[in-house]
Amino acid sequence: MQYLEGRKFVVLGIFLAVALVFAVRLFHIQVLDGSYKLAADKNTLQRIVQTPYRGVIYDRNGQILVQNTPVYDLMVIPREVKKLDSARFCQLLQMPLQELRDGLRAAKTYSRGKASPLVQNLSTQELAAIQDNLIDFPGFSIKPRMARSYKTQNLAHALGYVGPVSPTMLEKPKYAKYVPGDFLGISGIESYYEKELMGRRGVQYRMVNVRGIEKGAFRDGEFDTLSVAGQDLHLSIDPELQKYGEFLMQGKKGSVVAIDPKTGEILAFVSAPSFDPAMLTGKGSGNRYMELLRDTARPLFDRPLAAAYSPGSVFKLVNEAIALQEGVVTPQTGFPCNWKLVRCTHRHEYPANLTLATKNSCNPYFYQVMFAALRQGRSPSKYEDVAIGLTEWRKHVTSFGLAQHLDVDLPGERMGLIPSRNFYDKRYGHHRWTYKTIYSLSIGQGEVQVTPLQMANLMCIFANRGYYYAPHFVRSVGNGGPLPRFREKHFTSVDQRHFEDIIPGMQAVVDGRGGTGNYASLLDVGISVAGKTGTVQNPHGEDHATFGAFAPAEDPRIAISVFIENAGFGGSSAAPLAGLMMEKYLRGKVAPWRQRWENWLPGSADRFVTHRNRR
């Protein structure tokens, strides 16, 4: 019997072996493996995000353009849905049965126990219709939310819109703070000022039990943060002018940009064709967006910012300013209207000085002006000479805010193009091009491209006689004024006196007898306008009409650029439109005898073309 006593060690050994296995396993899951702690937090911690009130957008007069309005999402918790009478439910919500099934399936895929939206953006009226019946459908609930609503039907392109954050966005670090279901500015000001408009989200951590019932704040709210409402934006947009501009541009493609040259504040920003900003918010916005996207006139295209056109004859002003600065011409310089160099626009008097040449927009005159500026004999080789000249010339041009971002407060700004020496070397080869190759730059045709916004800014420069403020929409974020960079003066490389020399010609264009821009004249109401017409050759069809101007000429309060695609000669369509806009802004009304143009201008741009051909 005695030897059996040794078996107690076997029994004890078994006990200890199991205890050891437990000790190791427990050490592993409790001390080494951190995933259980995360799982425990996931179980009990509920993160409640308080979305702050999005900032309101005001116009120049302090009237609300964009505000927030409550909408309601119908949420569903799949686990709690019991005995759903789907026929009655669909009738109540007026949704097809298939849509309900798809929605429920998607919700189940997301989570059985968490709420996901089934129908979004119900209005208060729609909510009232279903609310009382909702009690018969367990698992469905209403979640209120703030959505954008619009007090204006204009300015869609600049305002942009707010939409749900997309899965692709969420993968980028820039959107790390967003979660699915969040809304954010997708385009325009809403996107550019997203940070300011959104404010700061508040986060509360609550502890919940296994049934999702709240059990109080986590660590007495140590980690909770309060939400901070978004800042309001005060735009410089003049609502009346904006509305008027969109009215005048009806049926046309193109853009109108008006800027206060004294501040750089954008007064009107018209991209035609346009649409009602409310189209991209609320129920059915997705379908409406697709409709706009499919429209061949491309209403979603933000023309003032992203369309680049050749500036046409308006560009002659820039070349003249540079030539004056370089000292190769004077205002009294005369050149013959030599059609052998380049065809002129029309037969006109001898361009004996700058003012006459500008008034008649004489192509050969400005051909010779730019030739003088580029070919200064800095090199015996005509190839090298023009290349050196072009490089000098380009330095001047870029100081006018061309071929660069003006850093307007909107996303998606195009730079345009001012060709450089390298550009032509690549295209034609080193020393394989001369002035004759690139002369079309002198009349603003060819490779040079500017955006309508840059063109308006160009008019600001002439209005200010040599400097500009970066154009901007927001004159005040909250009560804090504009962004600091919008208070910086940008000077061009051309002296003020040379601008003074050019402006009489621009006034002659509008107010002089036989000037190309006579239709923009407001002399009859005592306002002197300085401007320049342009007709942009367009390989795809009819010429684009353009006109740039500012008024009053002696103390400018508005600078404007107008582009109308395929409308032919700038003087007959763009100029009168600019005139109406400037009068509207400066006087608040339009003289009765000019009001007939209001009925004539809106409509298809083709009318101008046929009119010209008839004449």
């Binding site: 004890l12 199991v18 000790a23 427990l26 899951i29 001390v31 296994v210």
Partner: protein
Amino acid sequence: MSATVRYSRSIDWVTLLIYILMVGVGLLNVYAASYSAEVPFSRVFSADWSGLMAFNWFKQLVWLGVAVVLIVVLVVIDYKAYDTFAYVLYGGMIVLLLLTLVVARPIAGSRSWLELGPMRLQPAEFAKFTTALAVSRFMAGINLRQQAFKQQLVLAGLTLLPPLLIIASNETGQALVFGAFLLAYFREGMSPLILLILAAAGIVLILSLLVPKLWLVGAFTVILALVFVFNTRVLRHHLPLALSTYAVVLGMVFGVDFFYNNVLQPHQRKRIEVLLNPSADPLGVGWNVTQSKIAIGSGGLAGKGFLEGTQTRFDFVPEQSTDFIFCTVGEEWGWLGTMTVIVLFMSLLGRVIFVAERQKSVFGRTYGYCVASIIFFHFCVNIGMTIGLAPVVGIPLPFFSYGGSSLWSFTILLFILLAIDAYRKQDLVR
């Protein structure tokens, strides 16, 4: 010297101390498991009796009071009574189990609870110590190694009758406990081969569930071939044994599917599935195990602190004051806490073995081993299931889990041993 004085000197104070520690820690954790911030402790002072009885921890305190009375009664009774009345108690318990089968209303699918007014008793709990007494009594009269097959059969019958009745009442977990008696029999001379064969069979069963059948068949065939190659004696003398073992193993491999699909009940099948692959269905069947592991695992080294366990307090762990009480320990006291519990159990088991070995009678020693084995089995399976090492079997953690039946049955089980041990010297004197 009066009997009481002698008794007080000879009771095993170490075991008593460990017992007090265990029920004390257990009570604290039962309090934590049923604690709710909305019901402050101060409400206790204004509550009437029925209000107090709504608290699990208070009920446990009452059960503990009853246990103290039980302890006094157990040690005052003449120790010889346990020997003498072993079969009577056993018989009474069998009758009670049969009665339960007939009378009991099903609770959570099992007919194992007897209702006596406001109280509920689970006779299966008490089958453990009565069976232990009966088999110890029987063992004292035989020599397990040398006795005839007939007597071994009687012993097997004594051991298997209660679990069969318990299985009939659909409380499989409690029935499995009786397997623990094998450890005691092993100490008393049962062939170690039986333990080894059972262990091997268990491994084969688990492998058959985990590994593709053909691989297993291949592996065993290779083993058989290797045995023949390296030990030619087996080929010559034990060919039938070797081949029949091989046949049995193959039978098990292929029989496990039948057993699994046709013998096991659906919920038992799922518990095994969950053990093999806990993440298969974390919200369904795997819920208990997943949540239990999360609760324990989130405790860290030192735990979240008393009453700070979020998983426990917010009801993520099911049955948290009874079968899953170990989760509360793990979450609020961390690894240090769980190790304390394990060390307590190891001390208790070691001490019980020590006490058993110092008994002069086969009855006393066998009973001691039965006590150790039963407690060990509960310890193994209960903690094993909370950390995902054993299938979910509904048996309590001795001295820790909330519940009168379980507390009393383990108290009786343990203190009968102490009572027998206390009179050990009297035996000598006599």
